[in-house]
């Protein structure tokens, strides 16, 4: 890493960037340019002039409601996913469970975090749908009519419950290494200095894990905010969340204005971007102690 011979380094610097060219070209063509195209399109009239009308067009009750429900589903599924995932990861790392529990849970998390999309929706429909297993068992064994209680799988609660199936395992996968990184000496030093377990977690362990927790929360948020397939297969177009609205717009221009579609997509980037900006800001604030 340190001092390399000057002559060859100089000779290669002029050519070194060529090695990155294929990747840069690919990323530009298929990631950055399409995204930029959308962002720019959100601020342009069909004739190509600058306008804020498209973005202003988002501020209609139905679109705002779609954003609001999307944000709520994403936020709650991310937050609950973080909490439950953290509890389960803590159970297998610092919870003194038998060693046999750890490896199967991690493998399963790898599977479940990738078991998203259409099949996941089917699994939940077969379980909590109107003729799903749990719905029927609740009715036959306990006499509880789930759908009479106001529950509906094709709703905010149902969608959040379904998203948790990939959010929790993702949290487990990310936070387990971080929990492993907590040194035993920290907990012992805190104990011998008189701290209770609760004080140790509040003053030492959680502050140390804080950046990881925040980052995962932001990631989980973006993860469910952009998810289309699960919601679409679950609800069709009956639940109006942003990605489904955009999906319908792309397929059939349901909004009747192609540039409103750009604005909608821009709104999605904006929300996930803000989530990540909040994460980075909080991380920078809390992380003076990291080299």
């Amino acid at each position: 890493m340190s001092a390399r011979p000057a002559a060859p380094a100089k000779a290669s610097i002029s050519l070194a960037w060529v090695g990155l060219l294929p990747f840069a070209l690919f990323a530009f063509l298929f990631l950055i340019l399409p995204t930029m195209f959308i962002v720019v399109g959100a601020f342009r009239t069909p004739e190509g002039a600058f306008t804020l009308a498209n973005v202003r067009g988002l501020f209609t009750p139905s679109i705002l409601a779609a954003f609001w429900i999307s944000i709520r589903v994403s936020f709650w599924s991310a937050l609950i996913g973080c909490l439950i995932g953290f509890a389960m990861a803590a159970a297998i790392t610092v919870g003194r469970l038998p060693n046999g529990a750890r490896s199967p849970l991690l493998t399963f998390s790898g599977v479940a975090s990738n078991f998203a999309g259409v099949p996941l929706a089917f699994a939940f429909l077969a379980t909590l749908g109107r003729v799903g297993l749990v719905t029927i068992l609740l009715r036959e064994w306990f006499g509880i009519n789930l759908y009479a209680t106001g529950f509906n799988l094709l709703s905010f609660a149902g969608l959040t419950l379904t998203y948790l199936f990939f959010q929790i395992p993702l949290m487990i996968l990310i936070v387990t290494p971080a929990l492993d990184g907590l040194r035993r000496e920290w907990s012992e030093a805190a104990q011998i200095l008189g701290a209770t377990r609760f004080q140790y977690w509040r003053m030492v362990a959680l502050p140390i894990l804080w950046p990881t927790l925040l980052g995962t929360l932001a990631l989980l948020f973006a993860n469910s905010f952009g998810a289309v397939a699960t919601a679409y297969a679950l609800t069709g177009s009956s639940l109006s969340i942003v990605p489904i609205l955009l999906y319908a717009q792309i397929r059939g221009d349901v909004l009747g204005d192609p540039h409103l579609g750009y604005a909608l997509a821009f709104g999605m980037i904006f929300v996930t971007g803000v989530a990540n900006a909040i994460y980075m800001w909080m991380r920078a604030r809390s992380e003076k102690w990291i080299r």
């Binding site: 890493m1 950055i32 509890a87 939940f124 077969a126 749990v134 990605p243």
Partner: protein
Amino acid sequence: MKGNRFWAWSALIFGLIYFALPLIGMTEFSFRMRRGEYSFDAYRVVLADPNFRATFSYSVTLAVLTIILSVCLTVPTAYWVRLRMPRWRPVIEFVTLLPLVVPPIVIVFGYIRLYNTSSLLPLTGTITGTNALLVAGYTVLSLPYMYRAVDTGLRAIDVQTLTEAAQSLGAGWFTIMTRIILPNVLVAVLSGAFLTFAIVIGEFVLAALLNRPAFGPYMQLIGANRAYEPAALAVISFGITWACMGLIQLVTRFSQATRASR
């Protein structure tokens, strides 16, 4: 300490129930096709459907192509960044993580508008072009996982020394890449590849919006029109995902075993 363990068990058991119920539910449902008794009818119907075979093999083909493209892009790039351009690492890493922030539906929306028939690069005009675009899109989706895996693999070996040693023996870049670097990060590449496979096989939004007959849209279509077959499909894709993750574990464990025996 006892209370501690009680909470650990509660968290674990609560989680396991939550995860087990949908899996049991979909499996049970998939057997319910014949009235009054459990049967494999739903699976029989699904597997006999020519559309199932066509879309499934289409998705498998695309997954393989995606893996090839992804490996060709990430391995040399990650290697080159470690060897010559360490200062660019944060930038490259940021780019590879972007697909986690920019929703896939936005990316594919950009494709549709950018590469339509009236653009400079009218990829969506032909079937081959659309397929290529789909592979490119899947490669973008796989970037965060693939690049991370390869970069972690490269961290474990001394890229600098290996390269200089190979060069001193007269090896060219192609030889270094295929004979030295790739074998050394093979485990990482395979892990990334299986993960990519699992993602591509069931992917829905890109294929649906580009109108390609992939497995994801097929499943969605079945789901909208049939009752029991979707559950059977869910069981099948869960099996595929599990197989992919199992292969990752197998490869990792195998490599650890060979490394330990050396």
